[in-house]
Amino acid sequence: MNPLHHDKDIRDDIAWAQINKDILKSLENPRRGYWYTVIGCLVLLAIGITAAVLQYRYGLGMAKNHPHMWNLYIATFIFWIGMSHSGTLLSAILHIVHADWRKPIYRFAEAMTTFSLMTALLFPVIHLGRLWNFYWVIPYIPSRGTWPNFRSPLSWDGFAIMTYLTSSALFLYVGMLPDLAIARDNTSGWRKRLYTILSLGWRGDDRQWRVFRKAYMLMAIFLIPLAVSVHSIVSSDFAMSIMPGWHVTTFPPYFVAGALYSGCAAIITLFILLRYYFRWEEYMTLAILEKICKLTFAIAMVWTYLNLVEFASVWYGHDVYAKEVLWGKMTGAYAPAFWSMMFFGSVLPFTLAFQKLRRHIPAMMVVSILLNVGMWLERWMIVSPTLSQSFYPWAWDVMWPTITSWAIVLGSFGWFGLLFLVFVKIFPSVSMYEVKEMVYHRKLAREKGVAHGAVHGHAGGAQPAHSPSMKKEGNP
């Protein structure tokens, strides 16, 4: 069968019991690649922890003996905050508009949000150097006269990120309750005990479903402005300053678009990995991958536009300092990073415009990783060039991170990967009850369509049961 002709998000003839069986099997029986990835993440984490210990032993000079040694850490902090955006935000938006193709993929995307935030939160601590004094920024009774400055976007960050982390984790948990009950009813041993506690005694009665429906919708509605506010506030860390290259009006939407972009690219990467690890070809179908790719392409174009707006406003604004920084990005020491960012962020996404490529899994794996390389470079290009040409000439320097800094950043990828992989091994990362709903409603629509077609003498837009698209994907 030509895969280009397979347009259904999911087969509508999968039995509900089979859905339970397939998804719960993933908890026990992943492919060997899963374990290789776990080992890879453990190695990265060990490298990161070693570097962090060395940095605390010998001081922040390990990151570079320079006042701007924190640039890599803060660029990576923004990267992880950005990565967190697409999961919960897209899940909430798609839930509100009843886009049901989100159902097989939203769970892991929301988990990605939670774990990205947990990774991002490491970096404000790491970049301080003296992490044991981190509690000074918490608004406790100021016995040392260290009451935090509420006017600073840095304290807004604290409020926004903690709110987002709490809300995203709760949204993930509430959405998972019915599946935890399914897992409780179909597992044994420690898993059964764990799911029994976490499912809170859910039994799926009509009262619970009604309350669930409304509560989940309300949470989704609040999460959308929250997600937008979080990255806007992170952008305020820069935009509220008067530093050239940072004092830009379009920074909040630029940050939000960049965040959505990197999050969508990460969803593609994780989609492909989970589909492979757990043999989820029936649930994570090429049709759904195509939809995510199209969404990513649209967001890439928004991001490109906002870049052009920023360049134009700086260019025509005639602020000599801002113009100098922009010109320095394009032609100076950071030019290779700048042009790589532009290539990966604005040119490479055009591969997503071709259907054959969107359905080519190895190609999409490579493209999605490179898109995120571009998004990481974007954050690096936000932070570093401005610092290298700041108002203090004595601090002018082209900052290339040290091996210690890179090791800590690599360690953060190991930390994120490990959290994510442990999550998908313990919890069902495809929503079983919602996939059942999806299958049920698709089947109902097809049957209605067939009935309509029988009355009016045409197919009525739905696939009849014997259509080739009803066959199992991947089967000849």
């Binding site: 179909n186 859910w202 039994r203 799926g204 429906r213 409304k214 309300l218 949470m219 609040f222 009850y433």
Partner: protein
Amino acid sequence: MKKTHRILGLFSNFDEATNAIYDIRADKVRGVSVDDVTLISPIEHPEVEEALGDRPVYVQFFTMFGGLFGLIGSWLWISSAQATFLVQPQGGKAVVTLVSNFVLNYEMMILGSVLFTLIGFLAGSRLPSKPGSLYSEKVSLDQIGIILELEQNQVEPAKSLFRAHKALEIREEVNT
């Protein structure tokens, strides 16, 4: 008379379960009304819930209270903290800053809304609790259950009604 009996009927599809509920609404089992019915299902199914009639949900009031509590509470907390601890270091500048506090209050309004929505959800769905002895694990697989609260003399007619709608299994529980 006290309703001491509970029966669970398991059905293989929503149509049979819905028709059974409509028959109960039509008073096919004398003295049993739709208020005695609890539907348990593997997926949320608004169309079947319609057969049960309007059963109000109050979670939105929790959300509204949480939002207001977050907004007003954080305003009071942050402003009083600033007024108490920041007067000296401010050196004549405004102690309570409206614009920056607005950002914080906005975040706290959302946090309050989400937390109280969760509380409303738990309270409204009566969680945490035990699923109950009549709960069947088959519901989490692919079957639909109807639980009826009955008097002793209503048990047999109710079972007959379930059988008429092709119930796969019927269980009974007696509360003494």
